[in-house]
């Protein structure tokens, strides 16, 4: 709109700041994969040469695979449930005039602004009072509470972004509510659904605070890593494992973010 005004003029210092900012944001995390290839048990400069030994060691370790499988199971179940509930809730929020809507949305978003430790502790107390033994199910319940707000928050803009008259047109053409949902609504919000699945899976997969209080005898992957951090000789293989997790998380989230916003940005600008 405002071409040629001072606003468009590039601001050199700010640009340099932005680049430094991004470097500082990423470099600490990138040290993990860097040292995971380092041929030394000590994490320090100078680097001792390239090795894949730590990755090879991971391969032979039974507990790592168990923990990985636990995390995947919990992540899959949690992401599917929170996405389905997120679709239903986002639809209710955007399509119906409900009294008290704002309060309900605030309530759902609450886990985003309350320290995780309080949820973890509160759930632990509830479960132990009810005599429920800690297991992967209890971890899943904890993760569900954290993931639901993210599911709803990812799906809401998709539902807000499409024209309700499309659904009305389908209804006018004789489809019932169920088929309208499957043939009109669902394809329209599908990218949001995939984004929500990927994001909630990643959150659950990486989650530590809830898992710390709610894990029974089967550890999730972050819990396993936490346990290994006590042993300095395990450091390099923890680095290798962490590097793999970081890589998968980055990839999933990158895809999710692109999908979550795809189509929306083009439509708005």
């Amino acid at each position: 709109m405002s071409d040629g005004t001072y606003i468009r003029r590039p601001n050199r210092p700010l640009q340099i700041y932005a680049v430094i900012f991004l470097i500082v944001l990423y470099v600490p995390v990138l040290f993990i994969p860097m040292f995971s290839f380092n041929d030394s048990i000590y994490v320090r400069f100078p680097l001792q040469g390239f090795t894949l030994q730590w990755y090879g060691e991971l391969w032979t370790r039974e507990p790592v695979w168990n923990a990985l499988w636990n995390s995947v199971k919990v992540g899959l179940v949690v992401s599917v449930i929170s996405t389905v509930l997120g679709v239903v809730a986002a639809r209710a929020i955007t399509r119906y005039r409900i009294p008290g809507k704002g309060t309900m949305v605030t309530f759902i978003m609450m886990p985003l602004v309350i320290p995780g430790i309080i949820f973890g502790v509160a759930l632990l107390v509830l479960l132990s009072r009810m005599g429920v033994p800690l297991s992967l199910y209890t971890v899943g319940l904890g993760h569900l509470i954290i993931c639901l707000p993210f599911g709803v928050a990812t799906l809401l803009p998709r539902f807000e972004g499409f024209d309700p008259s499309m659904e009305e047109a389908s209804a006018d053409l004789g489809e019932n509510g169920w088929w309208t949902f499957w043939r009109v609504t669902f394809p329209m919000v599908f990218p949001g659904v995939v984004a929500s699945l990927l994001l909630t899976f990643t959150i659950s997969f990486d989650e530590f605070i809830m898992a710390f209080f709610l894990t029974g005898t089967d550890p999730t992957l972050p819990m396993y890593i936490w346990g290994q951090l006590r042993f300095p000789q395990e450091f390099p293989s923890v680095l290798a494992l962490s590097a793999l997790i970081l890589f998968v998380s980055f990839f999933l989230v990158f895809v999710a973010q692109r999908l979550g916003r795809a189509g929306l940005d083009n439509g708005n600008t």
């Binding site: 759902i108 990643t202 998380s249």
Partner: protein, 309 residues
């Protein structure tokens, strides 16, 4: 879609109330909306409200050997109030979180400003790039800082290798500053998003008007951009300050005895110390303090806003 599932194959006389329910559902939007919301709300109630009520109840119990004495008493609260260690821990937690919050918001503001005003192509790419690390494991990001700040870590061994220092700098790891640096880095995305959204919303014609009326870039920033981005600053501060006060991973891995926070203490009560009622009390006290601080903060910013306008 839900109204179709209510149908039953009841006999003719009994069909009447069902069809009335159906008609009610069909007519009342709100009811259908509530029905769709109900599973989510149910889970959140089971996951938030019920545990919270039990937490409040347990905070009024006391420890009795290895089990609990369920007589209701405020003894735990009195202990927290009277013993100076709890006050000191809370103050330290709020201090660390407060400094980390201010540092994060101040450092992220120019970045959000840059993307909102100076990036015109691939804006989405920038936003994704800025928020991507946030989605990766919090534990691993904290772990990364342990690798960097450690006694034989990246900074120390790097500086020694360059011959700039003889002895490793011992103040890097296990200190308050280590916790603050790590928190500020780990929560950056939480500051950038609200700041970006509030800056992006600013009507550019206001800035042009200010320029036309003779304001320089600095005056323009302080009189227009900054006040209008205030909602973003407030949101960012809340989103960082509140969760970080209860953090215990960062202080546990990087804080040492000097950087321990209230979260570590709560975790100890549920772990090694095995005094659950005390842990519950501390959680409630923490929540009350957070609520109080949030209200005061909101009140001050409201007053300030009113004075400006």
């Amino acid at each position: 879609m839900t109204e179709t599932s209510v149908q039953t194959s009841a006999a003719e006389p009994a069909a009447k109330p069902v069809s009335r329910l159906e008609r009610l559902l069909y007519r009342s939007e709100a009811l259908r909306g509530y029905l769709l919301m109900s599973p989510t709300l149910l889970i959140m109630t089971i996951g938030i409200i019920v545990p919270f009520l039990i937490l409040v109840t347990m905070s009024l119990w006391t420890r009795d050997g290895f089990s609990f004495d369920a007589t209701l008493t405020i003894a735990n609260y009195l202990r927290v109030w009277n013993e100076p260690i709890f006050g000191a821990l809370l103050r330290r937690s709020f201090w660390i979180s407060g400094v980390a919050t201010v540092a994060t918001v101040v450092l992220c503001y120019p970045m959000a400003y840059y993307v909102a005003f100076h990036v015109h192509r691939n804006k989405m790419m920038w936003i994704i790039l800025m928020t991507l690390p946030f989605w990766t494991s919090y534990l691993l990001r904290v772990f990364a800082w342990k690798v960097i700040l450690g006694y034989e870590g990246v900074i120390n061994s790097g500086l020694q290798g360059l011959g700039m220092i003889e002895e490793p700098l011992s103040f890097l790891l296990y200190s308050k500053s280590a916790v603050i640096i790590t928190l500020a880095h780990a929560w950056a995305a939480f500051a950038i998003l609200p700041l970006y959204v509030s800056l992006e919303k600013i009507d550019k014609s206001l800035l042009e008007a200010a320029t036309d009326l003779g304001d320089g870039p600095v005056a323009r920033f302080w009189r227009i951009t900054f006040p209008l981005s205030m909602p973003g600053i407030i949101a960012a501060s809340f989103l960082i300050f509140i969760p970080t006060t209860g953090d215990y991973i960062t202080p546990a891995l990087l804080g040492g005895p000097d950087g321990a926070m209230i979260g570590n203490f709560i975790q100890l009560q549920f772990g090694a110390v095995n005094n659950w009622p005390m842990g519950a009390t501390l959680s409630i006290v923490l929540m009350l303090w957070i609520a109080a601080i949030a209200l005061v903060f909101l009140f001050i910013t409201r007053q300030a806003e009113r004075r400006v306008s």
